[in-house]
Every structure is written in structure tokens, then in C-alpha cells.
């Protein structure tokens, strides 16, 4: 039988271990941030955001095209991923026990676990090969397809939290079913759905693999959806494996900008969640 002292000691050390685990869990992010700021902040200036990449050996070039390219790619991905993902999420929550809903739910989980490079090849087969050239559209499509399962599942989870009593209250007022779903159930869960959508955006913003065979990257200024387009992750990748110190420095700065974009989106998600008429209280 354990003595009181032994119990006390075991309890103390277990608590200590969980503290250690918690610190270790956040350590990578802190190290990455510190490292990025140390290496990248020096190359970060206004011209980084406004100038095009310069030739080798010349200082002062920027990644304006890649920043704009990433924003365009995110927009395309949202245009594809959000309507389909949110729509599918609403379907799953409305018809939660239908056999079709159960298979959709399962397949969406499988899609979620699909390696992103596979998604890139898929988008290449579907969107690049038939037209014969790489394009922003194909890159956005690949990212959008990655968003769909993420958005679907968070939307469903958020709608599920809305109490049935609210749905009944709306029906009892004479709301038709579609209106009950949209203006009461979805509206109540909107903050949560928006948060889920922003988390999905943050997740795909830094994806590189799906863009390799689709958006390809571009050294020049291009906002055409039918042309190859530059993207921050691709630019970072290209610069990081180059042989030039200036480009390495630029890659660090690019990584810092990319992680800042993701951070801003994540913070926006938190603010949206805490909005005035936020989550339902029940």
C-alpha cells in the first residue's frame, strides 16, 4: 500500500510532467517565430511588399507578386471551398442520420487526411493537363478542394451545438423549414462557422505541395487567373534552395510575412468568435 507521502510525490511529479508537456507543445511555435524574426526582419522593408523580385546580386528586391499571388489564390480557394463546405455542413447537420450523410461525413474525413501533394496531382490531372498550362485557377482549385472537408466538418459541428429548441421555436412560429435553417440555425452558428472558415484559410495559406503542379510560381507580375501565378510558399521554396545569400535572406523575410498573414487570420477568427451576438447561450 502506498503511503501518503508516495501519493503526494507521484501527484506532484505527474503535474510537473504535464506542465513540461504544455511548455514543449508551444515551444516549436515560439522557436520558429523567434528564428524567423531574427533572420527575416532584417530583409523586411517597405520595398519587400512593393517591389518585384530582383536579379541575383542586386539588393532591394521584394515579393510583391508573391504576396498578391497568395492573396488571389486564397480568394479562389475561398470561392470554391466555402460555399461547398458550408453547404455540405448544413446538409450533414440537417440530415444527420441519413445513410448518405453518414457516407459524406466519412468520405470528408478521408479527404481531410489526404496528403496535400496528392491533392496537387489531382488538381493537375483535372485542371492543368486538359488546358495544357499551369494557372492560378488550378492552384486555387487545389487549395479550395483542401478547404472543403475542413469547412464541412467545422460547419457541421457548429450547427450541431445550436439547441433543437431554437429550431422548434422557429418552426412553431410558422417559419418554413428552409427559413428555420437559414435565419435561425445557421444565423445562430454563424460566428462559429466563420471561425471554422478562417481556420481553414489559415491552414491552406501556407500550403506548398498542392501549388507545385498547379500554380507553378511566376517570377513576373501576373494577376491573370489563366496564367501561372507567384505564391509566397513557392517563392520561399525556390529562394531557399537557391545558392545565393540574398535570396536566402529574402526567403526568411517571405516566411515571416507568410506566418504573419496566418497569424492575422487566426486572430481575426478569435475576434469574430467573441462578437456581440456570439455563440448561443443555453
Amino acid at each position: 500500500m502506498k503511503t501518503r507521502l508516495a501519493r503526494h510525490w507521484i501527484s506532484g511529479s505527474m503535474i510537473g510532467l504535464t506542465y513540461l508537456a504544455a511548455v514543449l507543445a508551444t515551444l516549436p511555435l515560439l522557436l520558429i517565430l523567434a528564428h524567423l524574426i531574427r533572420k527575416g526582419a532584417a530583409s523586411l522593408s517597405l520595398s519587400f511588399f512593393t517591389h518585384m523580385p530582383g536579379p541575383v546580386g542586386e539588393t532591394g528586391g521584394g515579393m510583391a507578386n508573391a504576396i498578391v499571388g497568395t492573396l488571389i489564390l486564397i480568394s479562389i480557394a475561398c470561392a470554391i471551398g466555402l460555399p461547398i463546405g458550408i453547404g455540405a455542413g448544413i446538409y450533414l447537420s440537417e440530415k444527420r442520420s441519413m445513410p448518405l450523410a453518414q457516407s459524406v461525413r466519412f468520405l470528408s474525413d478521408v479527404l481531410n487526411g489526404l496528403p496535400s501533394i496528392v491533392m496537387g496531382i489531382f488538381a493537375w490531372t483535372l485542371l492543368v493537363r486538359p488546358v495544357g498550362h499551369f494557372s492560378a485557377l488550378a492552384g486555387g482549385g487545389a487549395l479550395g478542394a483542401m478547404m472543403i472537408p475542413l469547412v464541412t466538418r467545422t460547419t457541421e459541428e457548429m450547427l450541431r451545438v445550436v439547441p433543437t429548441s431554437l429550431r422548434e421555436a422557429a418552426l412553431a412560429l410558422g417559419y418554413p423549414r428552409w427559413r428555420t435553417s437559414l435565419s435561425v440555425v445557421v444565423r445562430t452558428a454563424l460566428a462559429g462557422i466563420a471561425t471554422g472558415a478562417l481556420v481553414a484559410v489559415a491552414r491552406i495559406a501556407g500550403e506548398t505541395a498542392p501549388l507545385l503542379f498547379t500554380a507553378l510560381g511566376n517570377q513576373f507580375w501576373s494577376t491573370s487567373l489563366r496564367e501561372p501565378i507567384a505564391a509566397l510558399p513557392l517563392q520561399i521554396f525556390a529562394y531557399a534552395i537557391s545558392a545565393y545569400d540574398e535570396w536566402h535572406a529574402q526567403a526568411w523575410a517571405g516566411a515571416l510575412v507568410l506566418i504573419s498573414i496566418v497569424l492575422v487570420i487566426s486572430l481575426a477568427a478569435r475576434v469574430v468568435t467573441r462578437s456581440k451576438f456570439g455563440a448561443p447561450v443555453d
Binding site: S97, P163, S165, L166, E168, A169, A170, L171, A172, L173, G174, Y175, P176, R179, V184, R187, T188, L190, K276, F277, A279, P280, V281, D282
Partner: protein, 287 residues
Amino acid sequence: MLQSIEVSPGARVIPRVVAPRAASAEARETATPEKPCIITSHLSAFFGDAPAIKDVSMVVPQQAVTAIIGPSGCGKSTLLRCINRMHETGPNTRVDGQVEILGSAIYGDGTSATAVRRHVGMVFQRPTPFPTMSIRTNVAAGLRADPRSRLAQENVDEIVEKALHRAGLWEEVKDRLNESAMTLSGGQQQRLCIARALATRPRVILLDEPTASLDPLSTQKVEELVYDLRETVTVVIVTHNMQQAARVSDRTAFLLAGELIELAPTNALFTAPMDPRTEAYITGRFG
């Protein structure tokens, strides 16, 4: 026989006309209302294959409060939910028989459930204000659901004020109509839900244990409100609480295992029940 039913007249300010004790079955028959509002005939409702109510035929008079009492699981709420066609919103549900409200068969061909629900308001056990809406838009929510009443803005404000007055909530919320409905207390939220149900001017209002989650003071307010509502609408209230039924209702129906055992003027039912099962229930021998 009456030990457990204390109406405690001193505790309540609601005036009640105490009807003389019904002497016989014939006296009861004459008490059947002349102006019927809701008539159910051979109404049965099922969850899957299991019947929740069986062959209920009853008449609910206009502009009166009818209480439905009975032990847990006896089908009180299901019966109520058949009157505004809410029962069919659940999975695997079925309704047999007929319900007529003011002469129209609500389960008839070509009658839509949403149209029925616009004329039959309902308030639930827990307050259900829409959390994303302000107090004002909550009350107006039912108006916006009705495609026929695209009303002018000032008109809506007027209706909202009137409904809040009738629910006895106006004085408490008149300065904060644009605040979230979630800032109200539980009792206020429930009266808000009653106001929301009244705003569409329903002919019938169904209350499903409206005070089950409220404190005594809020309960009293809601009961007074229910008592006053009879002047303009027909009220059917489901309650666990026999004292509440005795306080607010004109007629009481006793339900047991899905069957309607007895429906009589409240006073007669509580003082001289016809059926031994009613007597057993109201004297607290079961349930």
C-alpha cells in the same frame, strides 16, 4: 380526497369563480362548451410504432384556458404538439385522426403545417429567444415569417409594443429594445417568448410547461398572464403542477398512458373526479 390539492386562495390574487361542486354526470355534460375552438376526434400520435397518445377525442372551448395534466410520459406534450402540427417535425412520427380548429381541419389535404402554426402560437418549457436577435426583432420574428404581412416599419413597432404590453414585459424592456434578448433574465425571456407568440395574433396559444424552468416569482407573473390571455385567445397549457392547473385553467384534461381519462371543468375535476384513476392521481397516489 382533497388533502393534496391546496389551491391556497390567500397566496394568490387572481380572482376565481368557484363553481359549485358538480353533482352528477349530467351536470358535467351541460358544462360542455357551446363555442368549441379545438375539436380532436380519434387522434392518435406515434413515435415509430409506439403510440404516444391513443384515440383522444376532446373539445376545447374558445377563449378559455384548458389545462392538460398527467404523469410524466403520459403524452401531454405530444397531444399539445398535435394541435399545431409540431409532432410531425420529429423523425419517424405519425398522426392519425382529425383535429379541427375553428372549423378548419388542420390535417386536411392542402393545409400546410406552416400556415397552421402561424395561427397557433406555442411556448416551450425552456425560454427560446433567438440569441442573434434583439428584443424587438425577437418579438417581430413571427411577423417576418408570414409572407402575407409585409408590414410597414411603424406598424411593426406598434405590434411589438402591444405584444410586449400584453406579455407584461413592456415596462421592463422599453428602453432596451435593441439589446440582445440574451441579456434578459429567464423569466423575462419566457415572457418575451409569449410576446413573440402573441405578436402574430394567433387564435390559439399552446403552452408546454411554460414555468417549468422558472423561479416562483416569474412563475406567478406567467400564470397571471395566462389567466388574462383567455379574454382574447384560447389557451391550452400542459403542466406538471396540479396547483398551477387549478389556479389558471377553466377546464382540465387528465391524460394517462396516452389516453384521455377525463375532461371537465377544473373545479369539478379536482373536487369530484368521475374516474377513480383521476382521483388516484390528484390525491397523489401515483405520478
